[in-house]
Symmetry: C2
Subunit: 153 residues, 2 copies
């Protein structure tokens, strides 16, 4: 059975929910190869006290371990929020083929918002980007998180 | 005793030499706080089979562990080669104050060559960049590595 983009983004959203339960900014990512999920991860920056613990970086690390290679050429990533420059750079470096993201990040997004690292520069690898998959759901989980955070302060 | 920029870059070069001995692209990085080295790392991408194992990312992870915080506000990084987009993004995210690098990377450098992520965009943190510290030595170790690599093929 071939899964839809929405099916896979729902799986990334499930990861975001795991982050939410740990009071982390709810962002989740999965990596898919041949229609199968090969890695799942969510943001753990505050708990790990390490800014590199974004969902995308962890998903890339896990997928590389699974495939026993840093080259993720035939893989696609689904992430609920537009990647920042660090994560966009990691996506380029890992040679991921296509990135699907849910909602844009106007402040730090490096895949079309602040800039587009994946498509606008002459790096040795270009990544196809498709945005807006389950956009409302991906946006809502973040908005609710920040609303609750402000209330609690 | 206050150490010079050249002293610190020499320490980063020592890390690059460790990478060289393991047949990795020789890039080394250190992070300095209050005139003391708090982390050292070198590129291990091929051995770890993980594209996130750049010297800079590992140096940031180690410094965060040491300081028990993802915020590296009063830290400076010394790296032998201009950071790529992934590493430049991690440097911004970690709030490192200043970056010193040895030699430029015309193909993937994201701190002045292909683009300048650290200074040209409205992210929530700007990093001061100074390049050309021990430029010749930092360039030579890389050139020699690639010359030997071509010979061996």
């Amino acid at each position: 059975m071939i899964h839809s983009k929405e099916y896979f983004m729902k799986q990334a959203l499930k990861e975001a929910e795991k982050a939410l339960k740990k009071l982390e900014v709810p962002v989740g990512a999965i990596i898919v190869k041949d229609n199968k999920i090969i890695s799942r991860a969510y943001n753990l920056k505050e708990i790990k006290k390490d800014t590199t613990y974004h969902a995308e970086i962890e998903a890339i690390k896990k997928a590389s371990k699974k495939l026993n290679s840093w080259r993720l050429n035939d893989c696609e990533m689904y992430v609920t929020l537009e990647p920042c420059a660090m994560c966009a750079g990691a996506i380029i470096n890992s040679r991921i083929k296509k990135l699907y993201f849910g909602t844009s990040d106007e402040k730090t997004g490096a895949c079309g918002s602040v800039l587009n690292l994946l498509e606008d520069y002459k790096f040795n690898h270009k990544v196809i980007v498709e945005k807006g998959i389950l956009q409302k759901e991906c946006e809502k989980i973040l908005k609710d998180f920040f609303k609750d955070l402000r209330k609690s302060k």
